[in-house]
């Protein structure tokens, strides 16, 4: 089941002409039950520093955020990824997110029930709420980004030693 799905996804990636970065983002926000790993998110974050690739990344995230309720995992994972990018990605991501805050804001009332009629929208509502709060609070956002940068340099120096 999951193998056929992943094969179909590879075909779709080629057929729709997605670039390597876009494939990466699609993979990180796919319908698999396991979340995007930190390594995946860090990869994407690095790519947001390239000007052309930044737009490609945001294009996919935008599409994923506006996905159907059935694909609530796409939305939840995109919010996780976007939250990471806002902290670790380039300054452009912050600008993009602030410009398009309405996309995130309107997700605060998201509703989706799965086959068993359990509420899967709650996780999205919470994530959207937290992300909007972060984007509105410039002071906190600055602190978080500072913290993130420190963490990254720590990790790099540790690797060198």
């Amino acid at each position: 089941m999951s193998t056929t799905k992943s094969v179909i996804r590879t075909i779709k990636n080629v057929a729709n002409g997605y670039s390597d970065v876009q494939v990466m983002v699609r993979k990180a926000t796919s319908n698999d039950p396991t979340g995007p790993t930190t390594a995946q998110m860090a990869d994407v974050a690095n790519h947001t520093y390239e000007n052309g690739e930044f737009l490609e990344v945001m294009d996919i995230i935008d599409r994923r955020l506006n996905d159907k309720g059935k694909n609530w995992r796409h939305i939840a994972k995109s919010l996780t990824l976007l939250d990471y990018l806002v902290r670790y990605g380039s300054e452009d991501v912050v600008a993009w997110a602030k410009n398009n805050i309405y996309i995130i804001k309107t997700l605060r009332e998201f509703q989706a029930n799965d086959v068993l009629n359990t509420d899967q929208g709650a996780i999205i509502r919470v994530k959207a709420k937290e992300l909007t709060a972060l984007l509105r609070d410039d002071e906190r956002l600055k602190q978080e980004r500072e913290l993130a940068r420190q963490k990254m340099t720590d990790r790099r120096t540790r690797r060198k030693n």
């Binding site: 599409r63 398009n100 309405y102 996309i103 309107t106 009332e109």
Partner: protein, 254 residues
Amino acid sequence: MLSFGGHSNLDIQTSLKKACTADSAAPKRKHVRACIVYTWDHKSSREFWHCLKLLPIQSNDTQIFKTLIVIHKVLQEGHPTCLIGGYKNINWLESLGRFSNNDTTAGHTKLIREYVFYLEQKLRFHHDHRGFNGMFEYEEYVSLRTVSDPNEGFESIMDLLSLQDSLDNLQRVIFSFIRHTSDISEYVISSLVPIIAESYGIYKFLISMLRALYRSSESDEVIAPLKDRFDAQHHRLFEFYADCSSIKIQCTAF
């Protein structure tokens, strides 16, 4: 600046059609959201109002009421131009209240009239006080401006209190409708959601404005009438929320 996914005219038409169907379910969030996102993408609400007028809703009370919910939602969360566009279309909105036909139940007519009346009040308020957004989310500079000019501050608090009063009226009408009908329709309950959000927004605004006004003015007597009205509203709001929480339990029990 950077907006993706070109939503065309056709998209909002279908979203509106799907949001304002004739069945008794609540307007689906995804369609309402599509309308809201559309107004932000295009930074204009012209298409929204235009498509709204083309909808064939006048023959059905349920549809009219659901459309009013959608309008309320879009006014709250949509692009600021929605409020301006709404003010321009205030006459059309008024006509909706007259359209409601008595064929189903008498309660419906009253619901629609009251909702239309409230939306008109809201649009007028936003026309007179441009600093506020649709949701009355707390913005620092508005309260700063009102403090610097106590007269203006007094007036806008008065207007806010009146708006809250008519919101309270609307809420009462909806609740009496819910109590008097045996089958509780989902869409009537769903209309409470934007009302709760809005009343809370207004409530928070009033608190911060009154506080600021207290600090700036010397005499308490001037503000005393405002305080009395606010206290009365506070109690009614509290009861309203209590009523709502009892309904939520009923909803999940179904």
